[in-house]
Subunit: 242 residues, 2 copies
């Protein structure tokens, strides 16, 4: 494939407009689902299974999996931990399978896996590793922002822009969303947290009192892992394929 394209799908509600049969889809839900997934796989989790509802976790209860669920920012009683990336440290997740509850991120993942050639997980935490891998695939790329209740959000778009910026020399076709996302990223990149203070979502996050999580999720390149969807589970990309 000589000419590779990148497109940015700004919310899952627009995914049906894109032909992704031959594309790698990168699912992006920076605060906090895909950041926690990347961190967990990087710390040796055997697999992470994303589900949409707290109740969906229960069907995994007897399998020895760790169950992660939050409501209103608190770990649900009887569950092992919540959605904070700080829960996904090696001491807790190494060698384990984690069932993770997330709404926006799971919806995007489930929609993408129906059609895409391959589904991988992106976050600022694994930006460089992800982009180095995308560069050498002979595939078009769709960056799928999980958004917020099917609407556009800033943090996922900024990450999409970061990927576009890294891949600009290796791809030839960019859609209008790529251009917008990249320019917003270039405005924000020197202080992502300050930029996100402009965001309506950021105000909501402040109310949830997860400032430490937000700052953690905005770190660049502290992980090498690229989670890839195999069946219903995210697992580490085999180095041989990287």
């Amino acid at each position: 494939m000589q000419k590779k394209s990148i497109e940015v799908c700004l919310t899952p509600a627009l995914l049906n407009l894109y032909d992704i049969k031959e594309s790698v889809v990168v699912v992006i839900d920076i605060l906090r689902a895909t950041s926690s997934m990347v961190y967990g796989i990087d710390n040796g989790a055997e697999a992470i299974i994303p589900v949409a509802h707290v109740e969906d976790c229960l069907s995994y209860a007897d399998k020895g999996f760790l169950l992660a669920a939050e409501r209103n920012g608190e770990v649900v009683e009887g569950y092992d931990f919540g959605n904070s990336p700080f829960s996904y440290i090696g001491e807790k997740v190494k060698g384990k399978t984690v069932v993770l509850t997330t709404t926006n991120g799971t919806k995007a993942l489930h929609m993408a896996r129906e059609q895409a050639h391959q589904v991988v997980i992106g976050a600022f935490l694994n930006l460089k590793a992800l982009c180095n891998w995308l560069k050498v695939q002979e595939k078009n790329v769709l960056l799928l922002c999980a958004g917020w209740k099917d609407k556009f959000n800033l943090e996922d778009t900024l990450f999409a822009g970061a990927v576009v910026n890294e891949l600009r020399k290796d791809f030839t076709h960019f859609d209008d969303s790529c251009i917008a996302a990249e320019d917003l990223y270039l405005l924000a990149k020197d202080d992502l947290r300050a930029y996100l203070h402009k965001s309506s979502h950021s105000h909501r996050l402040a109310e949830l009192n997860i400032e430490d999580d937000v700052r953690f999720c905005l770190q660049f390149n502290i992980c090498q892992a690229i989670p890839v969807l195999v069946g219903e589970a995210l697992v580490a990309m085999e180095p041989a394929k990287g």
Copy 2:
């Protein structure tokens, strides 16, 4: 209403996510539908009726209306003119009703009118007049970008950002799309044409050989008219309501 909100709906495919019953919806299709509408009403057209298909024009053929339709950048045989704003000069349209064919813009208009409190038309040509009017309405505002085949496009988003920028002091709530649109506008405003050369859509436009139209549509504030949808027709906003 003490606290007024602005939201930007980046494509008509997302309109169902917004509650617009009490809102003024501004329909935006800069290249070229809403620019031609603003210019035509400003030049004294009695009304402009937007329809989705060339064939839809035919049902108006016996009413003495001017019919505007293009295919592949050429005026359709038997029609009075095409979609170029240069067709909407006073000599041609003053006192006349024009039936205008447009795909993206008509779709957005028809979707909005089902639910919105009021639907008005925006373009760079009437930016200031439109914003001065929006400032004194006791209504929330939804800026509805017509986009390109339900996808995001840069030129409509830049205009939405220009409106947000004008209204920032008079409104209190802005969503993430507002922030993105405004920041992109601030990047682009000193030379909109140069900025749009980045756009995939711009390349398409270049192929249609409508560069003069594009430059015309990117002019600021050469019109005072605010077209408002009444039934199926766009007419001039009454000055008394302004």
